[in-house]
């Protein structure tokens, strides 16, 4: 419990420090809805998995997403893939897919660095490996509501490339709530949105 509280405090301090050093001259104002699109891919790891840690060990996972300007910030839709390995045969391994939608505000610090923070909502879909102890196939899938907050540190490179370090603190609303902190590092590429795709969004 103390460990959890400490991590929450650290996470809030991290965001607070970033905000306090921010130059609030946001380049976001120059963007209108959907005029650029960012495709990103990251490696992620669950570093805090509350009571899950007594039963499962998370593996390194992956996250893919799209991000585009949307009303006072950016909107992002993505999916995070991660496998959890059970410590004993009583706990089957499972694959976690988190489907989410997220809104974030990006703030440009001294060039070429920017930060972003926001919130996300989605579903955590769990698919359990079939084992001899599981007799009902309907028990192999589980899907639960997830909400969370996120932060990002972006290092903008030439030609639309960005290295991004990001963290998310998420709560999954199972009967015993699962709280998770995913940290990740990845690469994104930003394009001007093609007219046909912009029309689709609008």
């Amino acid at each position: 419990m103390g460990h959890l509280l400490l991590l929450k405090i650290k996470y809030c301090l991290f965001i607070g420090l970033l905000l306090s050093s921010a130059n609030f001259l946001s380049a976001q104002d120059e963007n209108s809805e959907f005029n650029r699109i960012t495709v990103g891919f990251s490696a992620v790891k669950d570093y805090l998995y509350s009571d899950l840690q007594y039963y499962w060990e998370p593996q390194v996972g992956f996250e893919g997403y799209f991000n585009t300007p949307f009303y006072f910030g950016n909107i992002q839709a993505g999916v995070t893939y991660c496998r959890y390995i059970g410590y004993t045969s009583q706990q089957p391994n499972f694959l976690s897919m988190i489907y989410y939608i997220q809104w974030e505000k990006e703030i440009y610090l001294s060039s070429p660095i920017s930060i972003a923070f926001g919130g996300r909502i989605g579903l955590m879909d769990m698919t359990f490996d079939e084992t001899e102890s599981i007799t009902e196939k309907t028990l192999l899938n589980e899907s639960d509501l997830m909400v969370g907050i996120i932060s990002k540190l972006n290092l903008n490179l030439p030609e639309g490339w960005t290295i991004t370090i990001h963290g998310s603190y998420m709560t999954v609303f199972t009967s015993k709530k699962m709280e998770m902190v995913y940290a990740g590092i990845g690469l994104t590429k930003t394009f001007l949105t093609p007219d046909w795709l912009k029309e689709f969004f609008e």
């Binding site: 009571d51 899950l52 039963y55 499962w56 009303y71 959890y84 059970g86 009583q90 706990q91 089957p92 499972f94 939608i101 909502i121 579903l123 955590m124 769990m126 359990f128 028990l139 589980e142 899907s143 639960d144 509501l145 999954v172 609303f173 199972t174 009967s175 015993k176 699962m178 029309e199 689709f200 969004f201 609008e202």
Partner: protein
Amino acid sequence: MKRVLLILFLFCVHLSAQQIGSAYSTYECEIITREEIQSGGILRLSDIFFQIGASEVKTIDGYRIQTNINLLNPGWDQNWILMVDGQRIDLDYPYMKNINLLPFDLSEVDYIEVFTLPQISSGEYSDKGMIHIHTVKPADGLSIHVSTSSASEIGDPGPFKYTDTNTPNIDQIGPYYSASISLGSEKLSLRMGVKHHMQIYSDPLIRKRMANYAWENKEMKLLGAYAKVEVDLLNGKHILFAAHAHTGDPLFYSVYGSDLLFFNPYGAEIPVDPIFNHVGLSGYFNLTPSASINYQFKFSSSLLDFPMYYQKPAFDWNINNYNGYVEFENRKSDSEGLVGFGINHVKFVTGYQLFGNSFTLFRIYGKYKKNYFDIISQTYFGSFVFDGTKTAVKAGVNSQIKMSKEVSFLTGISFSNRLPEEDNNLWYWSMKGYGFLNSYGLNYSIEDELSISKQFIAEAELHFDAGERFSFAFGGFFRLYSNQNIEHHNYIIDPATYLFDTETVVGSNQNGSVFGPKFTFDQQISSSFHHKIYYRYIPIIDGTDEFYDVMLTFPAHKFVYTISYQPVSSFSLNTMFTYLSESFWPEYNSINTDSSNLYSNNLKERLLIDLAAQKFFWHNRLRVSILLKNILGKEDKYHPIGGIFDMTLFLQVELILDSIL
């Protein structure tokens, strides 16, 4: 003292009947537009009851919902009228009028009229209220609509089900599918559609009571289909509408799944398979630019099949319902009127003879609306309903007095008798010899003969309208009921099995009255922001014990605040705050102690907050909506032995391909 003064003030000014949320609503009719339905993020037809300010809600599972429109009924009898595109839809099932049995979904709905005061509409006198669903008109050429939706309630065990901290599954809501194809032109349009719903009874509080039921009896699969033809012909417009729905069909799944009917005399759910059919023709012929003949003829059958064949006897509920009317309508610049004649023939199909397996009701009705000096507008309406021996008289007047450009005073007053045949319910047919209750070993008694019930309805409202951006209204309502047939139970739970036992008593001479204030407010704050308020209060109830008991099941206070943000037409955010005060269910007085407080005879007061967002893509061809219901996670419950609805995420994706060819 302040409270007394407040009540006196509200007593003096009276209150409004309607929710003025929509620009199209009038004080006697609340209109829910397609935009409001979509921005609210709701999925199922029955969810609309939560959007209607003047609708009270009772539900065990959140899917099968009973409503009371504007307290026009002293209790939960589902005798309000359901209409679709001008045709009366008779879902003639005991206790439940599950509008999800209609074979289309909200994606096909254009707007919904909720008649909150008695009046004449579509050939019917709506003394218990009316909900009229208008479906969207097909676009020119070929159109295809597809919709899919689902929801997830929080509180499932997740991976912990494989640990020693396992908890039961909470709920699976959906998935729901619907699709339609239509051909539209200026004078002829055709639409066909199908829908499939899956609904699982998996709330732990409900499942505890049904531990002995097979899984397929707790997992409903509903399949519906319809066809609608609309044609301009013979100087008029005519609609042919045919619909079918049944449950149990494993079309998309390998396993059969029945519906469940909460049968009050049994005190629990009974697995059933409703099979519903409807075919109707309605429309009008214009005789002159100001005069027309309107008509409707329809047939419907409402059958309850009984999947538990090992139980004897089988449920043998089967009602055929024929209804029709012809009316003449004339409109002038300062007045309009109509007179009409209708017949309703109902046949109860059983394998044995009743003391009359059918009845026929004849009705004559009329309406006259007159404007006086552009200041006073009055609508007089009345109806005689005759069953061959007895006559029910119904009459009323709705008035609007324009006191200034901004201020109007509105009133609605009506008196009506109601024949037992008009309710067409379990007790009417049991009196005629329907034997299911006796065969099933259920104890019941009906005090005396079922009466011709009487009701007096009065509403008044002072309405301030400051143009399009701002309006509010306050007023009050009064209901006086006499000779009511009210069903009463005293449920006793068996702590070992969680099954209930009761003796049902139908009191046939119950009387009572209710009075209270209402308030509505509506403002377009800016081009993007809009908000509205609905509030009603029931401070005074008087009447016989049975009347009093049933009125206590309505929360005394109901407050709804909605705020929406729509910066562009393709994106909106909507937040709805609902406050419901505590309600009491005296029929369940003993369950708190007998169930060790697992169930309770009172429903706690609660503040519910729902958040919804929707986005259109691809020039309004693709719509995605998210609704997060009960984000505070309050104990949201609408029946003492029903489920508790925790925070739930609803997702919907809709493809709208209009005029593709």
